[in-house]
Symmetry: C2
Subunit: 144 residues, 2 copies
Amino acid sequence: MRLSSRSEYAVRAMVELAASHGAGPISIREVASREGIPEKYLEQLFRKLRKAGLVHGARGSGGGYMLTREPHTISVADVVRAVDGPIAVCDCTSENRDGVQCHKRSLCAAHPVWDKLQKGIVSILDSTTLGDLAGTSAGSDPAD
Amino acid sequence: MRLSSRSEYAVRAMVELAASHGAGPISIREVASREGIPEKYLEQLFRKLRKAGLVHGARGSGGGYMLTREPHTISVADVVRAVDGPIAVCDCTSENRDGVQCHKRSLCAAHPVWDKLQKGIVSILDSTTLGDLAGTSAGSDPAD
DNA sequence: ATCAAATCAGACTAATTTGGTATGATTTCA
DNA sequence: TGAAATCATACCAAATTAGTCTGATTTGAT
């Protein structure tokens, strides 16, 4: 039930782009140094985000990345899926399963929780957008 | 966001025990064959479950494992924590973090989603019991 | 007493995933 | 032309995962 560093990094990086949306491309170097993410690793992530159509890459001097859509139309789930693939609590609840079911035949007794969990996770990630996060700035969270 | 096979197996095994609760100990061999789980692997898991106080192990011939509490008082979260440790979406939302925060200092912009996600996951796993899944008794809502 | 069935315990291992690095090519602006 | 940037792929070490192996100990039944 852990988030990969890919997803963590990617979401943070995307929130950076969201916060500066409309102000031209931002370079990997810039984002990496602001967020404390290894540059070359972030480069990989941005390539995946680009292939998923979430960002546009501007090459050459003065280049960088920009969101392709408005921040409030890109969900955290979009970003997570782009870098980590389909969200899947287990095979039988995966978003990309090919008719895979518990025990290959019938549903196991535990299936209802996994299903509920899967839906709960997707629902939260789907309903939170980069716009939400970019607007809710760091340090403003009263909890914890 | 994937469940480990440890958790999957452990929950399924515990539901087996729950379904036969009160009918004496059930052996690993029995559970393993019913659920299609490697025996020796399941043995490890049951040892963790015992150390967590969720089951009692009866040694010797005719032995096996039994739940130490009523099925509807053992949550799926209890089982998951027993075999996989504290539930943690990321370090800064982990159930056992030692004051660890995003960037070691302030909260990152993404923190609100991770926090929401963590709470959502724990809430679902906490509120579903082995009794619910086994279908035995004491009427909580059947998931899904 | 002996034997078989079972838990107990820990070390070991193969494969996969994770979290990166390294190298170099290509594009673009100045 | 040169620097700044993305693009692309290959490589790698460490950790994790999902087991297996070996053997000890306990207990019930013959």
